[in-house]
């Protein structure tokens, strides 16, 4: 199709032709076009179907406020629904399809909804789908969703990457129209660090859409020259294609930069979009204004646009929407559309001006005191019906109509901190109110200053004032001459007598719907919004909200400001989820922490498990082993039989020094550490303030004023943070210094009867039982490398933990494995670790569940009453110290062939499986290769006194029930003789 509606002029590059497809048909355009301008140039006005009634729709606007012309852009995995054709930059090869239409855009079967509009009024769903209740989720909602949706997701993985970043400036200028450009120029010339962001790909704002000049240049040329000057300034960052989405706290603004959306696909390694966090000392909102229409009966046909947009298509893109154009206005700005189009040779058939008097436009049929009362044309405007000042009705043939009811400042960002806009009777619109973002000032049309001169002057003055507060003085300058026409508007909110006059075109909200909401007492603005959906969805009511408020004000007899506005919330325009995620998706969702033995383990084919950010070896399969149980059983049995090695680097390590280090530990641990001898370590139990167990681990005394604390892997950070809080806030007078050393040391557990023999081959010192007894700790050397050794055991075997500086961790695991060959040593993972700790009856994460006390765990004696420590007082609460409270027990199935399930609840034999009979639950369950059957730990009511009792463990979710016997939690070596061997 040829560009039949392309006219002279515009800021497009006619030397190049871009090919694109819409709904499978080929079209052409030029660089500088949007998809909407190119389609209009090709005579395509019908671009979509409406949300509810599936009425034919074309673009209403030429910008980001567009409610109608929503398309699916691109195809395959890059398909993006609900893209506004008015801001989609044309590129060669672009493909777009219409949405919300079946089987085709021109014949949409669901347009039948329009015939039944009487039923589909506001509140239709709430009234109609009341019963039966069970139908809502399964029947009604799926049908409604299928019928009402707009675009569709491809459901394929997004092939593009997204980035995020952080920028800093003295002055952020939001919007690059005349006010924004002037503000940036004033600030840029002062040397301040400036960021000028604009959502458009061409800076200049309305200057690109108008014909009036600035100085001796056209507005567009002045904008281009100003942008060129700004581009030479190293202190100014120009960010086109960048939308400021939100004002956050402390001068921070979020922005999305569409880096590659104007390209067929991003260049290699380049993001599609970047989400920026902009730290600004001062900010100026120069986001311009959005025009609003005057609703009349059937005002939604393709070809009916905002008057300023009709003018923009002609002036900026060299496009006329139709060959016969009319304008419907209540203000002087609308007259510009008529004169501009006429100057371009377009047939302007009439200007319908609601105002009764004033000068007439020369050479144009200017009907004063008139209204448009209806329109006709099935898939696009063919005629309008007007009623003149004398009440005569006339039908005028036209294919395009520009309507304007005035302009609303784009005050969204200024209203983000719950600032309420203020009403201006003179301008018939809301202006930015007080209480907005503290560092933000509005200028230009965003502040209600609509003339070009006022925009330039306010941009300059606002920037100057903002810089002044930063101690920066901008050099004096003379502003160029520009038009300074006052706003001449007589409010005319809608055409009386209209019913199906669209206020919110995206949500199909009409005057009739607003009246219905009022009739049904949903008159408050927030109720109005939710009842009718006015102002929802992707355009957030940018063109319709104020009209809706005005209609409601009229119905209630209140003023518009008394009626109020809904709350402005981010984002200003829709943001792709990918931009919010940035790089953080898939494998890059979170960082990885690799243990010192990771490289070696990966070489061995280890199976890894995520433990927080850590990747730990879960088990190490050997050739021939086909199930994880085979590997784990082997690792456990061999460790207990000879020796096993396990990477325990992930346990938190905190270096605690200072002359009060011992006293400090006495306060943070429930048991005592100040009496611990140098060269020894002790198991410690840490409580929360409420007496519940927080964490456990061993702490070693390496010197008189020096301790090394170990924490659980999961709580390494939270314990460190807790200790810092105690040190800094609770007891600032204590001489204690803390630093994490988790990463600094590679630490391996060496456990089993041959642990000492293995280690002695590598350690340079005597580590016999006499020289290095149970719970010993000290500095040693490993083949000359300084190291630390702790004689502690989690498995219940003779065991040590040996630590070397992390750089030697890889070498040490290899040395341990080599030295262990003569003992058939195994390396075991977290599964075997878990098996052995349960066999030994040690508590871990499943038991330290944030609701259990030391008493529950059978560790009540560790809570020293001889000193004060965090949590000790509240651990003595009556409810936590009941004799028949939960106690840790061991559990084994009566029939050894049966497995149990962790989480199952204890029930007495014959008891109903109800909460009233609940006696506790299984916390941890494993298969014990040592015992030859499954075993478990659990919290059982009065458990200590129920050893030997037979009962049931019941899991109602999985419908399992196993008869069990309650036993000691220590399945292995209850006397602890192995530890001390």
């Amino acid at each position: 199709m040829t560009q039949t509606n392309r006219i002279a002029g515009g800021q497009i590059d006619r030397s190049q032709t871009l090919r694109f497809h819409f709904d499978g048909l080929p079209y052409s355009g030029h660089p500088g076009d949007t998809l909407a301008s190119a389609l209009l140039a090709n005579g395509v006005r019908l671009m979509g179907r409406s949300f509810k009634y599936h009425r034919p729709r074309g673009p209403l606007s030429a910008g980001s406020e567009e409610p109608n012309a929503l398309v699916q852009l691109r195809s395959g995995a890059r398909q993006e629904p609900n893209t506004r054709a008015t801001v989609a930059e044309l590129f060669d090869g672009l493909t777009a399809t219409s949405q919300n239409a079946w089987p085709s855009l021109k014949f949409d079967a669901l347009a039948i909804n329009d015939r039944f509009n009487t039923f589909f009024t506001a509140g239709f769903y709430y009234k109609t789908f009341m019963w039966p209740a069970a139908f809502w989720e399964k029947v009604y909602e799926p049908i409604i969703r299928r019928a009402a949706g707009l675009g569709a997701l491809s459901t394929l993985e997004d092939p593009d990457c997204y980035d995020k970043g952080f920028l800093h400036c003295d002055l952020l200028v939001i919007g690059a129209g005349p006010a924004g450009l002037q503000a940036a120029l004033t600030a840029g010339r002062s040397g301040a660090r400036v960021i000028l962001a604009d959502e458009d790909f061409r800076m200049g704002g309305r200057l690109n859409a108008e014909t009036f000049g600035i100085g001796d240049q056209t507005g567009a040329d002045w904008a281009a020259a100003t942008v060129a000057e700004l581009a030479t300034m190293p202190n100014v960052r120009l960010m086109a294609r960048t939308t400021i989405l939100a004002a956050m706290d402390h001068g921070i603004y979020s922005a999305v930069e569409r880096v590659s959306d104007h390209l067929p696909e991003p260049l290699p390694n380049k993001p599609r979009q970047t989400l920026w966090r902009i730290y600004s000392r001062k900010a100026i909102l120069t986001a311009g204004a959005t025009e609003r229409p005057i609703p009349f009966e059937n005002n939604d046909r393709p070809g009916i646009l905002l008057a300023g947009s009709l003018r923009a298509y002609a002036n900026r893109w060299g496009v006329t929407v139709g060959d016969r154009v009319a304008v419907f206005t209540n203000n002087d700005d609308g007259l510009r559309t008529a004169t501009d189009l006429q100057a371009k040779g377009v047939d302007v058939v009439a200007v319908i001006d609601t105002r009764p008097g004033g000068p007439l436009l020369p050479g144009i049929r200017h009907l004063q005191g008139a209204e448009v009362i209806d329109s006709a044309g099935r898939l696009g405007l063919q005629s309008i019906t007007i009623r003149d000042a004398k009440g005569r009705v006339e039908t005028i043939a036209c294919t395009a109509l520009g309507t304007t009811g005035g302009w609303n400042p784009n005050l969204n960002i200024a209203s983000h901190h719950r600032s309420k806009p203020e009403w201006s009777d003179t301008l018939a619109t809301f202006l930015p109110g007080a209480g907005g973002p503290a560092n933000l000032t509005s200028a230009g049309a965003a502040a209600g200053l609509f003339s070009t001169h006022a925009a330039l002057a306010s941009g300059d003055e606002t920037a100057r004032a903002a810089l002044e507060t930063l101690g920066i003085t901008a050099p004096a300058q003379t502003l160029p001459q520009a038009e300074d026409a006052p706003v001449a508007i007589t409010p005319h909110w809608y055409v009386k007598g209209s019913a199906r006059a669209w206020v919110d075109l995206q949500n199909d909200v009409t005057i009739k719907d607003i009246k219905l909401a009022h009739q049904e007492n949903f008159a408050g603005v927030e109720h109005l919004k939710r009842y009718t959906t006015l102002g929802m969805a992707t355009d957030q009511g940018k063109t319709g909200n104020t009209i809706g408020l005005a209609v409601m004000a009229e119905l209630t007899g209140q003023s518009i400001p008394a009626t109020g506005t809904t709350t402005y919330r981010p984002p200003y325009t829709p943001v792709s989820m990918g931009a919010l995620a940035g790089r953080g998706r898939g494998q890059e969702f979170k960082p990885k922490r690799l243990t010192p033995s990771h490289k070696w383990a990966a070489e061995q084919g280890a199976i890894f498990v995520e433990v927080g950010y850590w990747l730990r070896t879960q088990w190490l399969p050997r050739p021939g082993e086909t199930t994880w149980r085979e590997s784990v059983d082997r690792e456990v049995l061999q460790t207990r039989k000879s020796v096993g090695i396990c990477d325990v680097t992930t346990l938190g390590k905190i270096d605690i020094q200072g002359t009060d280090a011992g006293a400090f530990l006495d306060r943070v641990y429930a048991n005592t550490f100040s009496t611990l001898a140098v060269g020894k370590c002790r198991y410690g139990l840490m409580l929360r303030e409420d007496g519940i167990v927080f964490d456990d681990g061993t702490t070693a005394r390496m010197g008189p004023n020096e301790y090394v604390m170990t924490t659980t892997t999961a709580n390494a950070v939270t314990v460190f943070r807790h200790l810092e809080f105690c040190r800094q806030c609770l007891w600032p007078d204590m001489d204690v210094q803390l630093i994490s050393t988790t990463e600094a040391w590679a630490q391996y557990s060496v456990a089993g009867p041959n642990a000492r023999k293995l280690l002695q081959k590598l350690v340079d010192q005597d580590i016999s039982d006499a020289a290095f007894p149970y719970m010993g700790a000290g500095e040693i050397t490993v083949q000359g490398t300084h190291a630390r050794l702790f004689r502690i055991s989690f498995s219940g075997e003779l065991a040590y933990e040996i630590a070397v500086p992390t750089r030697y961790g890889d070498a040490l695991i290899r040395a341990l494995v080599t030295a262990g060959e003569e003992f058939d040593a195994v390396v075991y993972g977290t599964e075997a670790l878990g098996v052995m700790r349960i066999e030994k009856g040690h508590v871990a994460g499943n038991e330290l569940n944030g609701q259990s006390t030391a008493l529950n765990m059978g560790l009540g004696k560790m809570v020293s009453r001889k000193k004060d420590a965090i949590g000790v007082a509240l651990s003595a609460r009556e409810g936590l110290t009941k004799d028949d409270g939960l106690r840790l027990v061991g559990v084994k199935p009566v029939d050894h062939s049966k497995a149990m399930q962790a989480g199952s609840h204890f029930l007495k034999t014959g008891a109903e499986p109800t909460a009233a009979h609940d006696d506790g639950w299984l916390t941890s369950m494993i298969y014990s290769p040592h015992m030859g059957h499954h075993i478990a730990l659990g919290y059982l009511r009065n458990g200590t006194n129920r050893i030997g009792e037979k009962m049931r463990v019941v899991n109602l979710l999985n419908k399992t029930e196993v008869e069990v016997e309650i036993v000691s939690p220590h399945f292995i070596d209850p006397e602890g003789s192995r530890l001390r061997a």
Partner: protein, 183 residues
Amino acid sequence: MLEPLSPLGHAVPEATTIGPFTITERTDTALASLAIRYGRAADVTATAAAAGIPLPKPGRHEIQTLAAFWLAPDMWMIEAPFVPHEDIRAHLLTLFHDAASITEQTDAWVRLDLTAPDLPALMERLCNTDLRAAPVGFATRTVIDHLGCYLIKRSDRDITLYGPRSSAQTLHHALTVAALSLT
């Protein structure tokens, strides 16, 4: 004799060049934290001055005989050549004795040095530090890809990042991806 491995898993640290950006892993620096014990500020200050160990103000990195950057109130990270300071804690203890708490930190961190004519363009995609405005000698704690890091501006075209050692590969990957996006 145990052989060391670099945080990125190399026997000998390597450099990566992506366009104008060079990312170099460094293992020739020994690190230790030094914290003044209660009431011993005068002792530590005097000893440090005599030994040529700077105790810079917040946000600063300084170089004398050894180098240091600020970590927290009354706490610094001391940088020293790995040779001959492999056992840096022992070295510092002989100077400060019980006036300070000293903890070896060499292997807690991966050190990555970045060189390029325009490093702010890279770092603005990684962290919220205003590197463009930061003076030479600036040092700060920041977050890159969820990882707590220290950033030191050594010159207008040289910075050092200290990131958690176990996440060295994640940090290096983040730097690489950001650098690639600029080439």
